[in-house]
């Protein structure tokens, strides 16, 4: 999964060419870069700033403002647990505690071997199926700790990465 620096540079340039003439292109570029690499490599900030005629500080500020944007590679699987009101009311806190214990990490962290990253998310629009989560982009509702274990095992057993 590791892309070479050269490929990365090439991809960033391609993304910039695609978006730079749109109004307010920074967020779209950041989404595209994270889409391509799973995170926004710090060394991509210079080219992004240069391409959009912004300062590196501005780009860094935007990236760090949004929790969604990552500056380090994610684990092979990304688990996003909803922590908003409806899910909380339906046991999301217990589910979160279970997830942290099961994976041995806190929110915003990845497991040491890089299998899983655990992220909080605030409302997936699945309030009717609370508590809800996203695993590698796939929504799952009415998740119990047992169901979560099953999902994680399934993901681990499955070939390759999700994302």
């Amino acid at each position: 999964m590791q892309t070479s620096a050269l490929d990365q540079e090439h991809d960033v340039r391609r993304i910039l060419a695609q978006y730079k003439d749109r109004p307010g292109p920074l967020l779209e570029v950041l989404h595209a870069v994270q889409g391509a690499f799973g995170f926004i490599p710090p060394q991509a900030i210079g080219p992004i700033a240069e391409g959009l005629n912004l300062s590196r500080a501005e780009v860094h500020g935007v990236i760090t403002f949004y929790h969604y944007f990552r500056s380090t590679p994610p684990g092979r699987h990304v688990l996003k647990l909803c922590r908003a009101e409806s899910c909380q009311a339906m046991g999301a806190d217990a589910l979160a505690a279970h997830a942290e214990a099961r994976l041995g990490v806190s929110f915003h962290e990845s497991t040491p071997e890089g299998h899983f990253s655990l992220e909080p998310v605030y409302c997936l629009g699945l309030c009717a199926c609370s508590p809800a989560l996203l695993l590698d982009g796939e929504p799952h509702g009415r998740v119990t700790p047992q169901r979560l274990d099953a999902l994680l095992e399934e993901a681990e057993a499955g070939a390759g990465g999700g994302r």
């Binding site: 710090p42 900030i45 700033a49 005629n53 912004l54 300062s55 590196r56 500080a57 501005e58 860094h60 500020g61 760090t64 403002f65």
Partner: protein, 949 residues
């Protein structure tokens, strides 16, 4: 942290002041222009509303919630910084509820702020401390919780430090960097409790995009960002308003002074918010790089020696002055009155410059006086005087705020004139169009939020061709403003010019091969400048320092006249003057052919005036210019020279030629802060005084006369004007001034453009733009309003004549020179400050293609050879310059960039052609050996024949 003598109004004055509105604040009626914030209105009424995130150099932000007020008839507690004054409002800034709210806010701030005020550099000047005292909070009301401690202090910048533990995240620094400086180097990283101010990508300031202008430091309410010169227990006792002694922007600065009354010390320098040139902004040089004044290299004792090969001998002032006077008279007795001369300095004050030329004309009895402006903006004087009638820029800097199309040619404002550049960039961010004509991709071509609409990357030496091509398009496409020209300009000259520029050979297509600029770009630039609204031209030494420097200045004036872009705000032809007082030194009669106010020495009426005032008869013939002095020295007819504050040997072109001339003289008197390169050829050295050690005035690029004020006594005992007086007295021509104000009074009496200038008025108004006389008692921000100073504007035909400096197989590249932000000219001052951390040596920028063809990698040592000399420096491979062109700066004596420049010069004024030299560049491995060999060849240099005059 508070400046010690400034009262902050919280928010800026509204950009477009509306009709006055009257409201009541705490029962007090006040009228303010519509668009004024309640906070500012209160401040104007003498009521200080508590605040932390607001300051009057930045737009209101409304984040600290401390400035809440109550407005009768409205619900809630609006922030006074973001609420605008309305007629009839009744505002209360104090109430029990407001006190409670404010105390709550401060308690939260204080809960995460170390309350170690007594050991903090901001103690007594801290806005948080002051606000806490105002609302009655002395300690945190909360149980210990999460705090931002400990965090590491960033001390990477040599002048200031960032201590994030003291930071209240008010964003003033970020906003200052964005809105005032326009660099965008700071940001808030993260959000919520994790929010932290960082530079670039959370890097140390020194490694970030920061240009060290200090705007962030100035705006910080606490000591999170603070000058390293502020230390605990070193109080600032008083403030002195003075003027920066670096570039031609002439920023007004406030020196905050501490120390003892016997030995006062500048503790920090802050830009003056009421300064008319800089409006509270400064750059890394003006704000921080004043330490040279107390550098141990300062030569504080007079020196003499018989021969330049002898060691210096320290003597008393009396002995040095007597020796100098004796030598001048001896040389005059032996070789004639005109065998001596003097050089005034654009670094010294108007009064000092005036005295030196008076000394030369009245005491030496010759007009052999010239100034370093010869080598920079003499073509400006000539070109603008010929076309418009006055030897100066046409606008105030603030005019740029009304420009719609900005044309920058041969200038690099973000490096050379950074504070004005910030103003220009603000206008560009508001949407003004930008045309850059420059061989190099200067910072303005593209930097965060700034992008030139057109960059005409011409070959060095082809300015006139490009300007003719622009004129061709404007005329042949019918874009001239005929009614304007018909009313204001000389018709025959206009018709001649029109016919000339319309010739097919001046079309952009015909000149493309010469200029290297695509014709379509020229056409677009011409249309944009002529039809895009207010067109303002800004230019620098990239225009003047050419064999056709004067022609190019006239070509610019032609363009402005033909398109009606003169005589009002937002337009004009504006030279960006290099030195703090280059305008002033020219105004003061430093040129061999002119008295003060640009009046020819041959005019009997003018000369009579001076003869009467000075009690001597004056020579009606112009004297020698600097290059003529060198030629005459080599001929043996010019033997003695008084040089005040100028370092020719490093700054003037073709160093070999200059040093041979200097070595041929019998008495060279150098008056300077340091034993500079020129002092190596001197027989008498008289210690100079820095701008902190004397009173006087400087005149900046917008003709603005500003006071400098003495902060400390002259370190060597005398201010420069006093030294000139000593010399005059020893020569039997006593001058009797007790204060520079008396010299200004004499200047005013003798100079029509200065008649209403006085120190009293300068103190009252802050600064004055000349002409200042009966017709304009408070000065003249914009010139040529209604009509040109010369009556009708005159067009000159500007035939492009290629320079004789040509590239060929042996010298295939063109060298052009420039400056960098952190260093100043020959670097005598900035090299003696911590500014060297940004630029410790001159480097040669070379395009990747040219580098590759020569096997040169970034950072390699290269030899740079021209027809006149050679030098060694490091290469920097860069796409900023076009293939075929190389670029360097001239700040370091080790480099001696001017060893390679030629003695070609402007046809009208002899301004040297620094900007075009044919060179070859080779990669070398043994830099030291190469340098030694070059130096040996140099010292063996022959006194050259004087066939080039």
């Amino acid at each position: 942290m508070f400046a010690i003598d400034y009262h902050d109004h919280g928010t800026p004055a509204p950009a477009a002041a509306g009709a006055p509105v009257t409201l009541e604040i705490d029962g007090q009626a006040i009228s303010v222009p519509a668009g004024t914030s309640l906070m500012r209105a209160a401040a104007l009424a003498g009521i200080a509303v508590p605040k932390l995130c607001a300051t009057d150099t930045l737009n209101a932000f409304g984040s600290c919630r401390l400035c809440l007020v109550e407005i009768e008839g409205r619900k809630g507690y609006p922030a006074s910084c973001t609420t605008l004054a309305e007629a009839g409002m009744k505002v209360h800034t104090q109430s029990q509820n407001l006190s409670r709210l404010r105390r709550g806010v401060i308690e939260l701030y204080v809960s995460d702020h170390p309350l170690e005020c007594a050991t903090c550099a901001a103690d007594g000047h801290c806005e948080l401390q002051s606000m806490a005292a105002q609302v009655g909070v002395t300690e945190s009301a909360y149980a210990p919780g999460a705090v931002h401690r400990p965090l590491e202090v960033d001390r990477s910048n040599p002048y200031f430090q960032f201590d994030p533990q003291l930071c209240i995240v008010c964003s003033r620094c970020v906003r200052a960097c964005d809105d005032i400086q326009g660099t965008f180097a700071l940001t808030v990283q993260g959000r919520g409790f994790d929010s932290k101010i960082v530079a670039s990508q959370a890097q140390p300031f020194l490694q970030s995009e920061c240009v060290s202008c200090g705007a962030c430091v100035e705006s910080c309410p606490t000591a999170a960002l603070s000058e390293k010169s502020l230390t605990v227990g070193r109080p600032r006792t008083h403030a002195v308003t003075t003027t920066c002694a670096y570039c031609g922007v002439g920023c007004s600065l406030t020196a905050e002074v501490g120390g003892t009354s016997d030995a006062p010390q500048v503790v920090r320098m802050v830009p003056n918010r009421t300064g008319h040139a800089n409006h509270g902004h400064a750059c890394v040089k003006g704000r921080f790089a004043y330490g040279y004044a107390v550098h141990p290299d300062r030569q504080l004792k007079p020196l003499i020696r018989a021969h330049i090969t002898d060691p210096w001998q320290e003597v008393s002032w009396e002995a040095a002055i007597a020796h100098a006077a004796r030598e001048i008279r001896r040389i005059q007795a032996r070789y004639g009155r005109d065998a001596v001369g003097g050089i005034t300095s654009s670094r010294c004050t108007n009064e000092e410059t005036f005295l030196v030329q008076k000394l030369v004309r009245a005491a030496f009895g010759t007009n052999n006086v010239d100034t370093c402006a010869r080598v920079c903006h003499s073509p400006t004087g000539y070109g603008l005087k010929s076309t418009l009638g006055e030897s100066a820029g046409t606008q105030a800097f603030t005019s740029v705020t009304e420009a719609d199309v900005i044309l920058v040619i041969g200038a690099n404002p973000t490096d050379g004139h950074p504070v004005f550049a910030s103003q220009m960039k603000r206008r560009l961010r508001q949407g003004a169009k930008l045309i850059v004509i420059d061989p190099r991709a200067i910072g303005l071509v593209r930097s965060p939020h700034i992008e030139a609409d057109l960059h005409l990357q011409l070959r060095p030496g082809t300015n006139v061709a490009v300007l003719n091509a622009l004129a061709h398009v404007i005329v042949t496409e019918g874009l001239t403003r005929e009614p304007y020209v018909a009313e204001r300009c000389e018709q025959p000259s206009y018709q001649r010019w029109k016919a000339f520029v319309s010739e097919a050979r001046n079309a952009p297509e015909a000149l493309a091969e010469v200029t290297g600029v695509a014709p379509e770009l020229v056409r677009r630039a011409a249309r944009l400048y002529a039809t895009g609204g207010n067109g303002a031209i800004y230019y620098g030494l990239g225009v003047t320092e050419h064999s056709q420097g004067s022609t190019a200045v006239m070509a610019l004036a032609n363009l402005a006249m033909a398109t009606g872009n003169l005589g009002r705000e937002g337009v004009g032809v504006n030279p960006l003057r290099g030195q703090n007082n280059v305008q002033g030194s020219c105004d003061m009669g430093s040129f061999p052919h002119e008295f003060s106010g640009y009046r020819h020495v041959s005019d009997p009426q003018v000369r009579g005036l001076f003869e009467q005032a000075w009690g001597v008869s004056l020579d009606p013939e112009p004297g020698l210019r600097i290059p003529n002095m060198f030629e005459a020295a080599l001929d043996g007819t010019f033997r003695g020279m008084y040089v005040q504050g100028e370092d020719f040997v490093q700054s003037d072109p073709d160093t070999h030629h200059v040093t041979s001339a200097m070595a041929a003289m019998e008495c060279v008197i150098v008056q300077d802060l340091f034993l500079n390169e020129t002092a190596k050829f001197a027989h008498v050295f008289l210690p100079g005084s820095s701008f902190l050690e004397k009173d006087g005035t400087f005149t900046n690029a917008e003709r603005r006369i500003s006071r400098i004020r003495r902060v400390m006594p002259p370190r060597a005992g005398y201010a420069d004007w006093e030294v000139t007086m000593l010399l005059a007295r020893a020569l039997g021509y006593p001058m009797d001034y007790h204060h520079p104000s008396e010299i200004m009074d004499e200047i005013a009496r003798l100079t029509p453009t200065f008649t209403a200038v006085s120190y009293e008025k300068l103190d009252r108004l802050g600064s004055i733009q000349w002409p200042c006389n009966e017709a304009a008692p408070e000065g003249t921000p914009t010139m040529h309003v209604g009509q040109f100073v010369r009556g009708k504007g005159r067009f000159f035909t500007t035939e492009y004549v290629p320079t004789s400096e040509r590239v060929n197989g042996r010298f295939p590249l063109i060298l052009t020179t420039g400056r960098i932000l952190s260093q100043y000219n020959v670097g005598a001052q900035t090299r003696r400050t911590d500014n060297v951390v940004w630029h410790a040596e001159d480097v040669l920028e070379i395009h990747p293609h040219d580098a590759e063809a020569r096997g040169i990698a970034d950072g390699d040592w290269v030899g740079l050879t021209s027809r006149t000399g050679e030098t060694v420096l490091r290469a920097q491979v860069s796409e900023r310059i076009a293939p075929g062109v190389v670029y360097t700066t001239f700040h370091f004596p080790q480099t001696q960039a001017n060893v390679v420049t030629t003695e070609n010069s402007d046809w009208a004024t002899n301004c040297p052609e620094y900007k075009v030299t044919a060179v070859q560049v080779v990669r070398i491995t043994q830099a030291e050996a190469w340098r030694t060999r070059a130096a040996q060849e140099r010292s063996a240099a022959r006194p050259r024949d004087a066939a080039h005059a």
